[in-house]
Amino acid sequence: MTTQHLIDLQGVRKIFYTDEMETAALDDIHLAIDPGEYVSISGPSGCGKSTLLSVMGLLHSSTHGKYFLNGTEVTGLHSAEQARVRNREIGFIFQAFNLIADMTAFQNVELPLTYRNDLTAKQRRDRVLTALEQVHLPERQKHFPAQLSGGQQQRVAIARALVGKPNVLLADEPTGNLDSRNAQLIMDLLSDLHEQGSTIVMVTHDPRSAERAQRQVSLFDGRIVDDRRFSSGDGAASYAAGARA
């Protein structure tokens, strides 16, 4: 009996074409992530970490290979269908928070829900408040991003990622723009979310952040060169067959 992976990348390549050359950002990536996993992706600058996250988040289409999300192949989906999948299955957390300056915290969190047509205003409101409570910021709902600290902004961004109840949270250097204290708070929050059952895939080059994950994937020149799983609690490393490539 085989269990269904939440994310299953099979032989994924991503090539960027420019006028005079082509750059392979990802090369023959095979990666399966199960529900409830907390995975960190690390590697040197330019190794393809963010590109891998973009492919997982359907922000980029792979040039070759197949991508199954929750058992369904999402490679080559029509843009409208991709948008629907992003909206319902995936939650994004960015390094630069990417909050919209002219929206309040509440509206920023509400934004992904406005792209759905199956929720009433009350349902949206309830969900937004729940998400803000999850990140401990319900009292800041009327504040604009400029009125929030960096850590608070990132917590709003996490609430925005959570509000749609996605199957996976994709975090791209979530602490990269934060001081160490706020970074610690955000990492604690992500750990809490993972303990509550969330699947998290996090790109980071900070070893301390990577250590929070139960699985650490390392990339180099667009290839997975290391894939370690750690049993939760004992901190002992157990190699999980390394890179399947």
């Binding site: 074409y17 909206n87 990417n98 406005t114």
Partner: protein, 808 residues
């Protein structure tokens, strides 16, 4: 509900960037306002039906010197008689003639706008009178008693709405006339007449007996085509031309024009030009807002990418963008409609001035704002809204969100944005040049035409705009001469210090007469020449400051007993006797039974005439009042001062001489000349505004493009300067980019120049200054492009190279 969410956000952006919002709304307002005003003007001038049912079935029969010349709705009575005799196809052929009649009631004498109209033509309007009856076939029979129909306003104004007016006999042109009907308040057929009387046309044996000019109209039968009628008319006119070659040019051409544009069809090229200009401004506005929106979306590309990452489909992004611009466009639409209303009001002001000076009553061709204009405004705004939003929004909706969110340029994202904006700016430059060349040439041509020196001393001169026509009591020449002497004395006594002259036409609008010129080879142009002619009193030249060049002016000896003489102006002298002394040469008039030779006794300075007078090069000839003793006249009075309005005293002076011969509509000569020029001079500010708008739009578009380019390349500037490039080399990088558009401008210039011949039919001198105007536009565009390129570059150069290197 989600729309409400988008709307709230759009409103926040609208308020936050109020400067941008107002600028865009202004562009929309100008574009929409101009489009609506032009649409209303075009409708009123070219498409508005006459104000009676079925008027689209009516056609005006017009004559022109040849097939290419301007057709005019006036036909001599003989030709009309022949048309009447030979028409078979049309349901009706009728005509009306403008008259100025005098209504005398008690101690009051008033001149009224009147028409002698074919009874059948009047009846064919199918408009029931408010009171009494309309004309029937008995009313134009020989010996029928004189009858008249009053307009509603005339009935109210001159008879206080007397309910017993029907059957009442009034005194018109010193004769009793019975009122048989009063037309409804809104009745305005062809012109705003106050009185209609039946047209009596005696049978004319020869064209020379024609004393009346008529405006003929035909009424088509249901589903009837114009072709057979046009052929029938052409055959009749050709026959008249052929039978009377001494009077009519064989090329004389008949044209049928829809009655609703019988007086305005010659304005079609101007209206078309204005419509094209408005369309160009609309397009420019669209492109401009598109570019501004493009730049704005570029600033917000991260936000759009984020929305995409959060699951917004392209459709949702487009909707969001459309909602954001909708607020700007809505504001622009409202302001544009208000601008159009102001434009209409301004046009009515011009119409009111012309109406007052020429006493022409209500203007049938003034534009009004109709509900369809509101629809047109909405459609124009929607065109701007959708085109200017969808193109940039679609571009950004297709962007790679991961690239933008990562903040790096993997791929060709930014380049694509620049290419689209460059195309838009190129389009803007082309359209601007086209509009600038067209507007520039029209403005220069019209300004030159209306500012031609008229060669008249108009200070303190009043003119009676409408002719005073002698009635049967003054059929005798000696009585008329005595009347003029009495009138002169009466005026001089009522307004001491004034000087009086008489003429048969306004100084810039001489009448026309068929004539022959005696040259060395004998009489030439026999019968084919139509010369401008005015009959004037002795002191006409002195009163108007027309200078004597050679020979003599008229004096009291030039009467019916003396040698028939004529004075010509220097244009006519140089046209027909170039390099010769015109004195002693002879001219023969062919019409009106005057076939004797007139000897040229003087040459005076030329009065060029009104704008675009087609016969201006022929000059004008003057005949003495005492020899011709014309049946009608206009009076010119030089007042001793302008501190007092002497018009009441002047009317009293005329009333004292003959109560049935009032002075019609006394206006200053300056006002009269201004009114004559106004239909052309009114175009000038409109075209200047259009040209300014287009230049501003092109300049701002270019400025935006270069600003963006500079902003994107600030780091590059820093690198170049760090590597040793001088400021000038860095500047030239952007100036080169701007100068590319100068070559693009050539396309617009070429298109503009190609349009000129199309306009030359209405504005005959438009080709005179094409080269300097085009050069001026090139210089203007060069200055605009240089400024738009240089100013943003200065900002980048003001940064230290170190700061520039750190900029993103």
């Amino acid at each position: 509900m989600n729309v409400w969410f988008d709307l709230q956000y759009a409103w926040r952006l609208f308020i936050k960037s109020w400067g941008y919002s107002l600028m865009c709304a202004s562009v929309v307002a100008l574009s929409v306002g101009l489009a609506v005003w032009t649409c209303a003007l075009a409708y009123s001038q070219l498409w508005k039906p006459l104000e009676f049912p079925g008027s689209e079935q009516w056609y005006s029969v017009q004559l022109s010197a040849d097939a290419t010349a301007r057709a005019r709705p006036s036909i001599d009575a003989y030709t009309y008689q022949e048309l009447l005799a030979h028409h078979r196809a049309a349901d009706h052929l009728g005509a009306f003639a403008d008259l100025a009649v005098v209504l005398s009631e008690g101690q009051a004498t008033t001149s009224l706008r009147a028409a002698a109209i074919s009874p059948r033509l009047f009846a064919a309007t199918h408009v029931a009178p408010r009171l009494g009856r309309i004309f029937d076939s008995r009313d134009d029979q020989p010996g029928a008693s004189a009858v008249a129909i009053l307009s509603f306003d005339a009935w109210q104004q001159y008879f206080a709405g007397d309910p017993a007016i029907i059957g009442r006999t009034v005194r018109i042109d010193a004769a009793p006339v019975r009122v048989i009907g009063v037309m409804p308040r809104d009745f305005l057929a062809f012109e705003d007449f106050e009185v209609w009387m039946p047209l009596h046309l005696p049978q004319l044996a020869r064209p020379a007996d024609s004393t009346m000019t008529l405006t003929p109209l035909i009424l088509l039968r249901e589903h009837q085509t114009l072709g057979p009628i046009a052929n029938e008319m052409k055959a009749a006119v050709d026959a008249v031309n052929r039978d009377h070659p001494q009077l009519f040019d064989p090329a004389r051409h008949v044209t049928l024009i829809p009655a609703f544009r019988m007086f305005t069809h010659n304005a079609a090229p101007i209206v078309t030009m204005l419509s094209l200009m408005a369309a160009a401004v609309l397009l420019l506005g669209c492109v401009n807002i598109s570019m501004v929106f493009f730049a704005r979306l570029l600033e917000r590309s991260r936000e759009l990418a984020l929305r995409t990452a959060l699951g917004a489909s392209r459709g949702r992004l487009l909707r969001q963008c459309l909602i954001e611009t909708a607020l700007v466009v809505l504001l622009g639409l409202l302001a544009g409609y208000a601008l159009a209303a102001l434009g209409i009001q301004w046009t009515h002001g011009i119409g009111a001035f012309i109406s007052r000076v020429t006493a022409s009553g209500r203007q049938a061709y003034l534009p009004t704002l109709r509900s369809v204009d509101l629809l047109w405004a909405v459609l124009s705004a929607m065109a701007i809204w959708i085109l200017s939003t969808l193109i940039p929004a679609w571009h950004f909706a297709r962007q790679d969100p991961a690239v933008i969110l990562a903040g790096s340029g993997k791929g060709a994202t930014v380049r694509d944005g620049n290419r689209s904006v460059r195309l838009l700016v190129g389009l803007q430059v082309v359209i601007s040049c086209l509009v600038l060349v067209t507007c520039g040439n029209v403005v220069v041509a019209v300004e030159r035409e209306v500012n031609k020196p008229h060669g008249l001393n108009t200070a303190q001169v009043l003119i009676s705009i409408e002719s005073t026509v002698f009635d049967a009591r003054l059929a005798d020449a000696s009585r008329r001469l005595r009347y003029w002497e009495n009138l002169t004395a009466s005026i001089e006594s009522h307004v001491p210090g004034s000087r009086v002259a008489f003429t048969t036409s306004a100084p810039t609008r001489p009448g026309k007469v068929a004539a022959s010129i005696e040259t060395r080879e004998g009489a030439t142009h026999d019968g084919r020449l139509t010369l401008p002619r005015t009959v004037v009193s002795d002191n006409y030249f002195a009163l108007l400051g027309i200078r004597l060049r050679s020979g003599r002016l008229f004096d009291s000896t030039d009467d019916s007993a003396s040698l028939p003489v004529v004075i010509i102006d220097e244009s006519m002298a140089s046209r027909f006797w170039p390099g010769e002394n015109a004195l002693g040469k002879r001219v023969r008039l062919n019409g009106s039974g005057q076939s004797s030779w007139l000897t040229v006794v003087g040459v005076v300075s030329a009065v060029p005439g009104g704008p675009y007078r087609t016969d201006a090069s022929l000059g004008t000839m003057y005949q003495p009042l005492r020899q011709v003793v014309p049946p009608d006249f206009q009076v010119l009075i030089r007042l001793p001062d302008t501190t007092t309005d002497h018009r009441v005293a002047l009317r009293a002076a005329a009333f004292a001489v003959d109560r049935d011969l009032p002075l019609h509509n006394l206006q200053t000569l300056d006002d009269y000349l201004a009114a004559v020029n106004l239909s052309y001079t009114a175009m000038v500010p409109i075209l200047i505004v259009i040209a300014l708008i287009t230049a501003l739009l092109a300049g701002s578009g270019l400025f935006g493009l270069i600003s963006r380019s500079v902003a994107q390349r600030t780091q590059e500037v820093g690198i170049r300067r760090a590597l040793g490039a001088t400021s000038w080399r860095a500047t030239s990088m952007f100036l080169r980019q701007g100068s590319l558009y100068l070559s693009v401008a050539v396309v617009g210039l070429a298109l503009g120049i190609l349009m000129m011949p199309l306009l030359s039919r209405a504005i005959t001198n438009i080709l005179d200054q094409v080269f300097p105007v085009t050069l001026g536009v090139v210089l203007l565009m060069a200055a605009l492009i240089f400024t738009a390129s240089y100013l943003p570059t200065r900002r980048a150069l003001a940064l230290d190279p170190g700061d520039a290197l750190r900029s993103e």
